[in-house]
């Protein structure tokens, strides 16, 4: 006599939902298997073969239950991340780039340059002052899509991360591929460039992103 409930639980345990629902499903599938087993035996199937057929039906259930669940989780994660991180982040990046381009081309923005030893601090002040708007827009879009606080924050200061990524790429490419030793000999130059394009814009964006970051999510 097989303990079908134990067999079903052993096979599907991790896939079952709540306690009550899970117990009912176990009981129902166990009854089904018991009847199927008796039916097969009555049809003349030897005991091991009948048992094997029952187990194969159970493993089909496990596969069928697991695949859509996995697919749903993957799809859900992709949608969530795209909606709350990548798209708002791209909006922030686009806005920040367009503002800089427009200011340079049409408002003839000239950066203020402060010389520090062998490096220069190049400040696009009007652009930096517009960056909180960009950060706020990105963080707001992320929040509106149901983004968690961290997603809102990252979406708001996304351009700073992109620039940081660019710098992280420039350093090894410059040194190891182009054999440009200037960066290593003048770390201040590199540090100031990092400050110009990553830290200061990041701070501006953060100023705008923080209010939306603390707000309540519209969708969960």
């Amino acid at each position: 006599m097989h303990d079908w409930k134990r067999i079903v639980r052993g096979n599907l345990g991790s896939l079952l939902l709540s306690d009550r629902e899970g117990k009912e499903i176990v009981a129902e599938l166990a009854e089904h298997l018991e009847e199927l087993y008796e039916d097969l035996r009555a049809d003349g199937f030897p005991e091991p073969e009948a048992f094997e057929q029952c187990l194969s039906q159970l493993s089909e259930v496990r596969l069928a239950a697991r695949d859509p669940e996995r697919a749903k989780r993957r799809e859900g994660a992709m949608n969530y991340r795209s909606k709350t991180l990548w798209l708002p982040g791209l909006v922030t990046l686009t806005l920040a780039s367009v503002f800089l381009m427009v200011l340079q081309r049409f408002a003839l923005l000239q950066p203020r340059i402060y010389w520090v030893d062998d490096g220069a601090l190049v400040l696009h002040l009007p652009w930096l002052m517009l960056l909180p708007l960009c950060g706020a827009a990105g963080a707001y879009l992320s929040r509106r899509a149901g983004g968690r606080s961290l997603n809102c924050l990252v979406a708001g200061i996304f351009p700073a991360f992109v620039m940081l990524g660019v710098f992280c790429l420039i350093l090894p490419v410059g040194v190891f591929i182009e054999h440009n030793r200037y960066i290593l000999q003048h770390p201040l130059y590199f540090g100031l460039a990092l400050l110009n394009w990553t830290v200061l814009p990041g701070a501006g964006l953060l100023l705008g992103a923080v209010p939306a970051w603390g707000g309540r999510s519209h969708v969960r």
């Binding site: 009912e24 039906q57 069928a64």
Partner: protein, 111 residues
């Protein structure tokens, strides 16, 4: 001839609702009757039958309750709800239209 699982799965909703229109049945009985009445062409394993039953239950087309079968064993019997009963006729029409369209397209009736 056994019908391909994907085609059979598509027809599961109508097959189950049509059977339950006659009387309440439990899972194994539903699978068994579908197999018998289709001459063995349609076979529903546990993996295809129960997800559909739970889906129909979720949609409110069937309701389930535990009761003892004639042999005295507890079984989960499924029966049609009023909403489920209303689904059967449109589903039948839909399938009929589908077969007619498929026939016109592929000459099914000459096969």
């Amino acid at each position: 001839m056994t019908i391909h699982a994907k085609i059979a799965r598509g027809s599961a909703e109508l097959a189950i609702l049509a059977l339950l229109e006659e009387q309440p049945l439990y899972g194994f009985e539903i699978a068994k009757r579908i197999e018998e009445r289709s001459g063995g062409s349609l076979r529903f394993t546990m993996a295809s039958l129960y997800p559909m039953l739970y889906e129909l239950e979720k949609r409110g087309h069937v309701k389930a309750q535990w009761a003892a079968n004639p042999a005295g064993r507890d079984r989960r019997y499924y029966s049609l709800t009023a909403g489920g009963k209303r689904q059967v006729a449109p589903l039948r029409r839909e399938w009929k239209a589908f077969f007619l369209a498929l026939d016109q397209l592929t000459g099914l009736s000459h096969a």
